[in-house]
């Protein structure tokens, strides 16, 4: 008798009809958007803060580089003594005082330029000031050597290395950015999915234990059927939630765009711009074009198929372990000690993914971790956009499936024994013994 469809249906419907699930599904996009808006507003607020910086320039020619900008006003205090200037700035509650001592600036400028302030100044303010002075001094020095301003201006060059693989595939830095975004999103999505819905599976197993219905159920169905039904049913509920979220997200973006008349494409490009400082000087249109090409350059078929396989494999591997934990304990507070061994490889995968894959997608560390079954789904998903040989993907998938089968066997053993055990929290030693029952 195959009860799996029946169990899946019940698990799915109970999850989907649950009030808190419905509330979360429709509320969290709103919360996310509200949160993003608040963060954006706050950072805007921070940038908008107006500052007054006083300049005491004893060289006489540097102060002209400090032009008032939107947020920063410069006051020229030339003529005052340093002590008076500091006292004045203190009294006016200015942001700070930049003091440039009168020396031969073409010589050694160490310790000749100082910034006085109440609190330690922000890093961006200081580096901004430094850049301005450096530029001016460089021009001054060059002019001393007989180079005209026009010549300096003309000497500026902007280089971008075009990339092409041996078989003639053209690529650019935009490609890498797009790949990173794709791989990162896929890996992170899997990570979130495992944590959210793995926990849900665990809670539903615990619920069956605490409500004492478990023995009634397993006198009708095999525990492994119940476990798989739970995993699949909960995952389908998860997929439903994700689909609703993406639809809601899309609708929100559209509506917002319509209301504020924001060019979505331009907005996206702006975001990507941050990741791509080298392209700052090239034209906007060219950039959009590059991203478009980069997008087309992605190995889409491979990406989608690999995504499906690694996502499902990785998710099932972890969720069967979550189910086993749920079966081993009586209540949620007891799950802590067993959660750690699950979360560790998962966190490791995400860190390895974000730090080493970005650095070198085909380096030793990334390659090794994309084979280890507990980290491979996340790391491999991040690597694939950069092009991974099919044999590597296949081998990694094979290892993952092997481990998955083993994990399900292991989880089913623990599950079978654990669901009928009440009372004290088991130790790892006892769990090991259960395998032999």
């Amino acid at each position: 008798m195959n009860h799996l469809p029946l169990i899946i249906k019940r698990e799915y419907l109970t999850k989907v009809k649950n009030k808190s699930f419905i509330v979360m599904t429709f509320l969290s996009p709103l919360i996310m958007i509200a949160l993003a808006a608040v963060v954006a507003y706050l950072s805007q607020l921070n940038n908008d803060k107006e500052r007054t910086i006083s300049i005491l320039d004893e060289t006489g020619y540097l102060k002209e580089v400090f032009q008032n900008s939107e947020n920063t006003t410069y006051t020229d205090l030339t003529g005052l003594s340093l002590e008076n200037a500091i006292a004045l700035v203190k009294e006016k509650k200015d942001y700070g005082l930049l003091h440039i001592a009168s020396v031969d600036v073409l010589g050694d400028a160490t310790n000749k330029i100082k910034f006085y302030s109440e609190e330690s100044p922000s890093l961006s303010v200081i580096s901004g000031l430094e850049q301005k002075i450096e530029k001016r001094l460089k021009e001054e020095k060059l002019q001393k050597d007989g180079v005209t301003l026009a010549q300096i201006e003309a000497s500026k060059t902007n280089i971008e290395i075009a990339q092409e693989s041996y078989d003639g595939q053209k690529s650019s830095k935009a490609d890498n950015v797009v790949k990173l975004i794709f791989g990162g999103a896929a890996g992170y999505l899997l990570f979130m999915f495992i944590i959210i819905y793995g926990n849900m599976i665990m809670r539903s197993v615990i619920e069956e234990k605490t409500s004492r219905i478990i023995e009634v159920i397993i006198s009708s169905v095999k525990p492994i059927q119940l476990m798989m039904g739970k995993i699949i049913g909960t995952s389908l509920a998860g997929v439903t939630q994700f689909v609703i979220w993406s639809i809601l997200g899309g609708v929100f973006m559209f509506v917002l765009g319509f209301i504020f008349n924001i060019d979505l494409l331009a907005m996206q490009t702006q975001q990507q711009e941050v990741a791509m400082q080298t392209l700052q000087d090239s034209g906007m249109e060219q950039r959009i074009g590059e991203f478009f090409i980069a997008f087309q350059n992605l190995p889409m078929t491979n990406l989608i198929i690999a995504f499906l396989f690694f996502f499902i494999g990785g998710y099932l591997l972890y969720s069967s372990l979550y189910a086993a934990i749920g079966a081993a304990v009586d209540n949620e507070t007891d799950t802590q000690q067993f959660m750690l061994p699950i979360l560790m490889p998962l966190m490791l995968a995400v860190y390895v993914g974000f730090f080493t894959v970005i650095e070198d997608p085909h380096g030793t560390v990334s390659t090794v971790f994309s084979f280890i079954p507990f980290t491979s789904p996340v790391v491999m998903l991040m690597r694939i956009p950069f092009g991974v040989p099919l044999w590597q993907q296949g081998l990694s998938l094979l290892l993952l499936i092997g481990t998955f089968v083993f994990a399900v066997w292991f989880a089913a053993k623990i599950y079978r024994v654990g669901i009928l055990m009440y009372g004290k929290k088991p130790t790892y030693k006892e769990l090991f013994k259960w395998l032999k029952y």
Binding site: M1, H3, L6, I7, R10, T14, N18, E207, E208, S211, R212, I213, E215, V216, I217, I218, S219, S220, V221, K222, L420, Y422, K433, K436, Y437
Partner: protein
Amino acid sequence: MNDLLVANSVSKNFGKFQALNQVSIAVPKGSIFGLLGPNGAGKTTLIRIINQITMPDQGAVFLDGQPLKPEHVRDIGYLPEERGLYKSMKVGEQCLYLAQLKGLSKTEAKERLKYWFDKLEIGDWWNKKIQELSKGQAQKIQFVVTVLHRPKLLIFDEPFSGFDPINANLIKDEILQLRDEGATVIFSTHRMESVEELCDHIALIHKSNKVLDGKLNDIKRQFKTNTFEVGLESPNKERVFAEIQDKFEVLPATFRNLHDDIKLNIKLGENASPNDLLSFLTSKAEVHHFVEVIPSASDIFIQTVKNN
């Protein structure tokens, strides 16, 4: 082939702990079979093996002559001692789900549920959640779910716990009716008075071994001590008492009676007949009370467990 369920020297170990050691039982068709034993004796393990929740290490179980196989879950209805229902699921949905897991079709399950809900007068609970019901009410639902698929074999583990006397009686009558309609019942409990009332066969498991089994009456016959409870009236109590004491083994007895008389338990030798005792007594005094002492299930239980 008159036994519905046969377990042949079933053993089960959990690690180093032996839960069952070569236990064999045979449950006759249409009987109510009491599975007794102190806490931790191995009853639940045996019941779980019959339900295919746990696999035996050795031995085999046969249902209707066939070795147990997965399809047999349809033929068994099991009410575990540790029982419960999904708290936040509606009564009707839940019953349908559990019935379908036992192999009933949805329409069939609905029909039968209606019958049972009407019979137990709980029809208006259909759309309630379990958490809105009292414990006794939930137990009723649980009972319905257990018997709904009309299994050949019903296994009840402490079926009356959580019921008030009225509902306990109601459930008891339902069990008896199911038996009369042809079901076989395995009944596990610590309440000896219900064993007395319901069971015609019993098996006693103690420390993983079966120490006793058979028809309840046969067992009682085995355990009887040929003792008779008598109440006598005579003007010379002391003399009569002394004469009886001379001839028989005598213990004081207590029972309710209209007269303030001699109350004794008199134990006869192996071959002595109660008629001899009676004629002896009538010659000495007026006999108001003469009953054979039948060992109760509780006596048998305690005695067997202590001796082992």
